[in-house]
């Protein structure tokens, strides 16, 4: 296999999974020796998700229409899609709002109207500010997912185990305590 075209994307999550990815420390050098980071909020400055990606780690739940489009683009252009962390795998904290009736409107109202100190208003700008979906969804609810990495965030050794399996076998599957959520 040639150099791996490697990507990560950040949807409705806190970036904790990406921080844990950076905790790979010196393994990042090993990864850099065998992979090109073609798209990532922490590993490249490329704005457009490219074609022909081998592996993509998706952090976060599908929370708004921009997330939904991004997930579909990733699926279309990527061989192996990895749900990266509890929000991608289960919805997790991002999906807490799903328990509230009319949650999308309620959380926006709580954040931008009730809690605002100055200029209370719901941010709205067509084509710029994404619209919240009625429910925050796990990634596999909107696109087929190949590999799952639970954890909030997944510890670095768990991410390393998956990346190493992908480098060696082209795919990955976690077992035992490596599946612990939370």
């Amino acid at each position: 296999m040639g150099r791996l075209k490697f990507a990560t994307v950040w949807l409705g999550g806190c970036s904790g999974c990406h921080m844990s990815f950076l905790d790979l420390d010196e393994f990042l050098f090993d990864l850099a020796a065998r992979a090109d980071v073609v798209y990532s909020p922490v590993g490249s400055d490329i704005k457009e998700y490219p074609e022909g990606v081998d592996v993509c780690l998706i952090e976060g739940a599908v929370n708004n229409d921009e997330n939904l489009e991004a997930a579909k683009t990733v699926r279309d252009r990527t061989r192996l899609v990895v749900s990266f962390g509890d929000c991608a795998v289960s919805g997790n904290v991002t999906a807490l709002r799903n328990t509230i009736p009319d949650g999308a409107r309620m959380v926006a109202s709580r954040s931008y109207l009730e809690q605002a100190d100055l200029n209370p208003m719901i941010p709205q700008a067509e084509g710029i500010v994404p619209t919240l979906l009625p429910l925050a969804l796990p990634v596999h609810a909107v696109i087929p997912v190949d590999v799952y990495i639970p954890g909030c965030p997944p510890p670095a050794d768990r991410i390393k185990a998956v990346v190493q399996q992908i480098l060696e076998h082209g795919t990955a599957h976690l077992e035992g305590r490596q599946l612990k959520m939370g």
Binding site: G91, C152, L179, G182
Partner: protein
């Protein structure tokens, strides 16, 4: 004391006739996953985690409520059973709001451990996201319905060991909830003795000691079994 001879997962073993398939398996070192079962309490076969395949019965039976019988041939780890067990755990996760990352029981939760044991890397069913209340009206303890799996271990511990019967279950299906007294705030219960046995018996973060935050709950779930053994056999064995 009559002895029955049976086969579990290809191992020929003997058990006392009053034993259940679960007890016989455990005595032989064969692990069968459980959730609603707790040593010291009666068995109800509610969670279906311990379903086993007994040749000739034509259906799956819970090991915790099935007595041993002469000549039984039992399989506990068939592919079908393992796929059902994973499905059961996934349905439990889908039915309430089990957010391990922000749960008091993270790291010491039987549901979380079961998910690991059955290899649950994600939930294939749609989450129901029910609106669940949290009752912190009791002085020492809290009840979070988001985390409840309706195992009824609290109900049985309170009724059978403490003798108070503060807990019960109201409602049906996905609307079922554990309740205290006449479905009133726990803190106003006149029967609760505040002994905390329900909290120790609870497998998840549904019942917790107030003041603890994420991943701080560490329960002694063997306490119930210890008390019952001490009471019935006069043996104080830890």
């Amino acid at each position: 004391m009559a002895v029955k001879t049976l086969t579990i997962d290809g191992t020929l073993l003997s058990a006392r006739e009053e034993q259940t398939v679960l007890q016989a398996a455990r005595d032989a070192g064969i692990a069968i996953p459980t959730l609603c079962q707790l040593d010291g309490l009666s068995t109800v076969g509610a969670c279906r985690m311990c379903l086993v395949d007994i040749e000739g019965t034509g259906r799956l039976l819970p090991a915790c409520t099935t007595r041993v019988a002469e000549g039984m041939v039992i399989h506990t780890k068939t592919e079908r059973l393992q796929s059902y067990r994973r499905m059961i755990v996934e349905l439990l996760f889908a039915e309430r709001n089990h957010i391990c990352a922000v749960c008091v029981a993270n790291g010491a939760c039987e549901l979380q451990d079961l998910a690991i044991e059955v290899g649950m890397d994600h939930v294939r069913f749609d989450y129901l996201h029910p609106e669940c209340s949290v009752d912190i009206s009791h002085k020492r303890f809290g009840l979070d319905h988001n985390r409840c799996v309706l195992c009824t271990r609290c109900v049985r511990a309170c009724d059978e060991v403490e003798g108070a019967h503060t807990w019960d279950v109201a409602g049906r299906g996905t609307a079922a909830r554990v309740i205290t007294d006449m479905a009133q705030p726990w803190g106003t219960s006149e029967t609760c003795t505040s002994c905390g046995k329900c909290v120790q018996a609870c497998p998840t973060g549904a019942l917790f000691i107030k003041g603890m935050t994420v991943a701080e709950s560490r329960k002694d779930r063997s306490e119930i079994g210890f008390l019952v053994t001490a009471r019935e056999k006069k043996q104080w064995v830890v």
